[in-house]
């Protein structure tokens, strides 16, 4: 039996060989320095680097330090980590996939049936965990009309080309010669681009353009509804996702559903807060912000929170240098905890 530690960049792995092979892996990029691992470790093997320093400066050290002489590879840190930053594997299998180990009930799903691919969630996701791929319908199939330019009347002024909002008109400009004293050799309308808005017709100084929009006269009569369908797909990177609920809250059609790992309360002490912004930088869920003053002389609240997005990980509390933030966890949503000592350990990270 031997325990060894391997540090690769900022990632750490602690391994023990013996009857069963155990390997604890830490991925620094996923860690939010919330300190839950440090709190639950039964042998005090984990130390979290001061979060303030981590988020405010570009430190070249790992967010946590694991003492391989103390670590017994029990896996409690891996089971409580809400960010998938720690993972214990026994015989190559993650304990997160083993029934006897408790795992946090957390998930984020986007229903493909309901999603309209508006990308609001993709924009709002504080971890860039969401990718929405969408295929837009062909523009030509959503419009219907006719356009014709009378080349005899046309004076090649190029006004229609300049004004066309869809860039559908091209004038083949040329320098006139004595044998062909014209300024243009041709004028072309790209019917795939034209939306029959009739701007060209109205702007033409010599009334050379005849155009009509059929939708204006007959409504959607000759548009096939299937042609206007938007197809797409949504993808949530489970490793990056912190289950904050931004997607669920911002979705206009309620297509996103999020289950959060912890329940609790987040209390800010506005009197103590010095406005240093460390918590805002530390929060992985974009819960905190500094409101801008709306009118001169009006002082907004120092620090604004919206608990809708909070997962009560405690990263802000850990980062705050003046103790102005208090995070209380009242409930841990997990699969059943089978062992008394594990239950006790899970309970120990509740309430402060």
């Amino acid at each position: 039996m031997e325990t060894t530690e391997l540090i690769e960049g900022k990632d750490i792995s602690v391994e023990r060989t013996g009857e069963e092979e155990r390997k604890l892996e830490f991925k620094d990029a996923l860690c939010a320095s919330c300190g839950l691992c440090e709190k639950i470790c039964p042998v005090s093997a984990i130390e979290v680097t001061p979060a303030g320093a981590m988020v405010r400066t570009e430190q070249d050290v790992s967010k946590i330090d694991i003492d391989e002489n103390k670590c017994v590879l029990c896996g409690m840190c891996s089971c409580i980590c809400p960010f998938e930053a720690l993972d214990l594997k026994i015989g190559g299998e993650s304990i997160k996939d083993m029934e006897e180990y408790p795992s946090l009930l957390k998930s984020a799903k986007i229903s493909e049936d309901t999603c309209i691919y508006c990308k609001a969630c993709e924009t709002a996701c504080p971890q860039d965990a969401i990718t929405i791929a969408r295929q837009l319908p062909e523009r030509a199939k959503l419009v219907s009309g006719e356009i014709e330019i009378d080349k005899e009347t046309c004076v090649d002024c190029g006004i229609c080309e300049e004004m066309c909002p869809a860039d559908a008109i091209t004038l083949e400009h040329k320098f006139p010669s004595s044998d062909d004293p014209t300024v243009s050799s041709d004028i072309i309308v790209d019917k795939d681009k034209c939306v029959y808005c009739l701007v060209c017709k109205k702007a033409c100084p010599v009334d050379a353009i005849k155009a009509v929009c059929r939708i204006c006269s007959y409504g959607d009569y000759d548009i096939n509804p299937e042609d206007s369908e938007i197809v797409g797909s949504s993808y949530i990177d489970d490793e990056l996702c912190v289950n904050c609920g931004w997607c669920q809250e911002i979705c206009p059609v309620d297509a996103a559903e999020v289950t959060k790992p912890f329940e609790g309360t987040l209390t800010l002490n506005q009197d103590l807060c010095q406005g240093c912004e460390t918590c805002v930088m530390a929060c992985p869920c974009n819960v905190l912000s500094f409101p801008q003053s709306t009118e001169p002389g009006k002082k907004p609240e120092k620090l604004h929170k919206d608990e809708k997005y909070c997962i009560y990980c405690g990263a802000c509390q850990k980062a705050c240098p003046v103790g102005a933030i208090d995070v209380e966890r009242t409930k841990i949503n997990s699969t059943p905890v089978r062992s008394k000592s594990w239950q006790k350990a899970f309970d120990s990270v509740k309430t402060k």
Partner: protein, 177 residues
């Protein structure tokens, strides 16, 4: 720890003249064979259990092809505290399964094993147990008292002091081999 084992080994050897480790292993096997014979095992069964040929078992049981010195040293080792017995046997045999067998057969004492609820299922005890007597079940270590040799290596390494091993009086031989 390794250095300590070697020192013990050397001192045993020195008091008994020139004897190679493999001779002591033979002595241990002899003791195990005799124990099994006492339990009524046939020579064939003994050979199977100790992974030896039957003829060697026969020689051993008839006191041939083995020096009394080796047997004497083996007997000293067997009567050491359970921890030294298992560690020394492993140092000599260099095979966990064979060590497990010999220690099990030659052990005289019986133990009561209790794992407290403070166990966090780190599995260190599973890794250190020479006897493979420990498994994890529902995030708690379970020790099979039939296989426990009383070495308490598990208890020494346990980060939460959750293991209690007590020697109990053996009322007749009810061990299951």
């Amino acid at each position: 720890m390794e250095i300590l084992y070697i020192k013990v080994k050397v001192s045993v050897i020195n008091t008994h003249g020139v004897i190679m480790p493999k001779h002591i292993v033979s002595g241990l096997r002899y003791l195990a064979a005799v124990e099994l014979r006492k339990k009524g095992y046939t020579q064939r069964e003994i050979a199977e259990r100790l992974v030896m040929d039957r003829s060697t078992v026969s020689h051993y049981l008839n006191g041939r092809n083995i020096s009394w010195n080796s047997i004497e040293i083996a007997d000293v080792i067997r009567n050491l505290c359970p921890r030294d017995f298992s560690i020394l046997t492993y140092a000599l045999v260099k095979d966990k399964e064979k060590t497990r067998n010999i220690v099990k057969i030659c052990s005289i004492r019986k133990y009561e094993c209790n794992v407290k609820n403070t166990c966090i299922a780190c599995g260190i005890c599973v890794d250190v147990c020479f006897m493979s007597a420990i498994v994890l079940e529902d995030l708690k270590a379970q020790i099979d008292p039939n296989w426990c040799c009383g070495c308490i290596l598990c208890g020494e390494q346990c980060p939460t002091n959750s293991i209690e091993i007590k020697e109990v009086e053996d009322n007749g031989d009810n061990r299951t081999y």
